[in-house]
Symmetry: C2
Subunit: 345 residues, 2 copies
């Protein structure tokens, strides 16, 4: 999820952007304050790396979800002792820790249009700064949300690693089923987004049912987000996304459109896709041909339809929150769900 400016392009983008601006500013402020507090005890270089990696135009969707779900469940600054922004930023810390480590693993050169941390400061700094944010995020969640929040948060973190390992295991398994793909995106992406929503509800004092409802909202949102992300890797407009298309296919990575096509294709076309996948050279040259084959079996359309069904499911979780006082929060959570479907970068 790119820069906040992107919301301006969504259906009711300008309204959404205005609605979330105050919360985003508070989240940003909480992070700046936290780093400033740490500075005294901390190596100057670590502080510099953290600033570089944390303040780079990230949209802060995860902490925003925590804050919104907190208020949706009746949490308010007036009556609470929880500093919800300070708790919420833990999700951005963990997310950034993951990005630092992922960029080392993928030997990525850039992140959001700038040299990635591993390039700007080296792999050692990227690994260690990720570890720092990891530990600090756990502490912030434990402090702000107690042991129950920590359980949810750590469960999501270990699920994330588990999802990455599943993905490792799935590499060059070209007969992947949709369930294998679902397990990976659930772990890699959706569990943390589910946890942001669940913990927001938890610290607001919501009952278990409401916590689970908002967790489900987050899980569906997260899965849909990842499916759309994988679709954009085939169908994105490079001028808008700023990323070249076809990377997943060239790397032989089995995402949903390809899995669907492989499952539905006639013998001949399936063999052709398999041959392309198995030969690294053909994978590199055959992207357009692969797209044609995937489209022939509605791989893109069916994948998009699945994402739409998930967003419907996410929206359905919000129905019960019908108190007049929280309709602004509900509208923003609905708009975020629509944004996931309609983003084009």
């Amino acid at each position: 999820m790119g820069a906040t400016g992107q919301f301006a392009g969504a259906a009711d983008g300008a309204g959404l952007k205005a609605a979330i601006a105050p919360d985003l500013a508070r989240i940003e402020q909480a992070m700046q304050t936290d780093l400033a507090t740490l500075t005294g005890d901390m190596a100057a270089l670590l502080n510099e790396v953290l600033h570089y990696g944390l303040f780079n135009g990230g949209k802060r969707i995860r902490p925003l979800l925590t804050v919104l779900c907190y208020r949706l469940c009746g949490g308010s600054e007036v009556k609470s002792t929880v500093d919800i922004y300070r708790l919420a930023m833990a999700f951005e810390y963990l997310h950034c820790a993951t990005l630092f480590h992922d960029d080392v693993i993928d030997q990525a050169l850039t992140r959001r249009g700038r040299p990635a941390v591993n390039v700007a400061y080296g792999e050692t700094a990227a690994i260690l700064a990720g570890d720092f944010l990891h530990a600090r995020s756990m502490l912030l969640v434990g402090r702000g949300g107690g042991i129950q929040a920590l359980e949810i948060f750590c469960g999501a973190t270990t699920a994330m690693v588990d999802g990455e390992f599943l993905q490792l295991h799935n590499a060059s398994r070209y007969n992947l089923a949709e369930e294998d793909y679902s397990a990976v995106i659930m772990g890699k992406t959706a569990r943390l987004i589910g946890a942001t929503c669940e913990i927001g509800a938890l610290v607001a004092g919501a009952d278990t049912a409401a916590q689970q409802t908002l967790r489900d909202y987050g899980l569906q949102l997260g899965c849909a987000f990842q499916i759309i992300d994988d679709l954009l890797d085939y169908l994105g407009d490079e001028a808008r996304t700023g990323k070249s298309v076809g990377n997943d296919f060239r790397e032989g990575k089995m995402t949903l459109p390809l899995i669907i096509a492989m499952t539905r294709a006639e013998e001949k076309d399936r063999e052709r896709l398999l041959a392309m996948l198995a030969s690294g050279d053909e994978r590199k040259d055959g992207f357009v041909e692969a797209c044609t084959l995937i489209a022939r079996y509605d791989g893109f359309a069916v994948a998009r339809h699945k994402a739409e069904a998930m967003i419907d499911e996410a929206l359905a979780q919000l129905y019960g929150f019908d108190q007049a006082a929280v309709q602004q929060e509900r509208a923003v959570l609905e708009a975020l769900a629509s944004y996931v479907l309609n983003r084009n970068k």
Copy 2:
């Protein structure tokens, strides 16, 4: 700190080894049980990597210290709801997570005589498995020790990263002062060992004074351990340590013996050491000459003396624990301190 068998070589080694064997077995069992519990939800490859990285002959000093300090402060299995072994293993998890990441950073080939995790399973697996253990260790500490234990644990973890960054910053600073070195080893090594002891006391219900006393025991022990480790890099018997000597000097790493020599040396000898450090080639060839110069200014003797003073200080922290019921624990903590000084590998 190598395999448990090494205790047999210490002064009263056989007795120490026998005394700690039951606790070590329980710690090992707790780790095995924890991984077995996780297996169902977890990628098989992740489980395999964790087993490989965790069960490799580590001495489990950190969890052992937690257990010993817990009992020293009156903690007992009979009257407590805390599973102290389950809490204690978190320290081994965190320690191993650090080793996985360090070995990626250093591109290490072996660890305790076997291919390092990054070699056996690749860098991706090593980074991710480290992240998994990191998150799980935080959860175990939060569960077993509550938020206060989590504060101590996360504080030690972020200090560890901070110490590594200080070390990065200090690379090729050949005018390092003893304080710079102390700050690095305090963060990198001692803080976590202090935390193991402090948390053991905390969960036993000890008062703040006792928690701080045992924290100080751990800090002194940890610093002395690191000084001896750095001394062995100059003076160790390769046949015993299984590691070649001279690595630190060849890498231009400023450890205590060299810092002391640089501070005390006459102009001519200081210039000579500086010239060797500044020229990569001379660093590689000049190890024996460097040892002679360091010895001329008592760099080794003074460093050892400092470690001895720290161990005296560590032992002094134990004086107050004079109840008859805990003399076995106290004796083991004393023997561990002596072992740190007398180890030769």
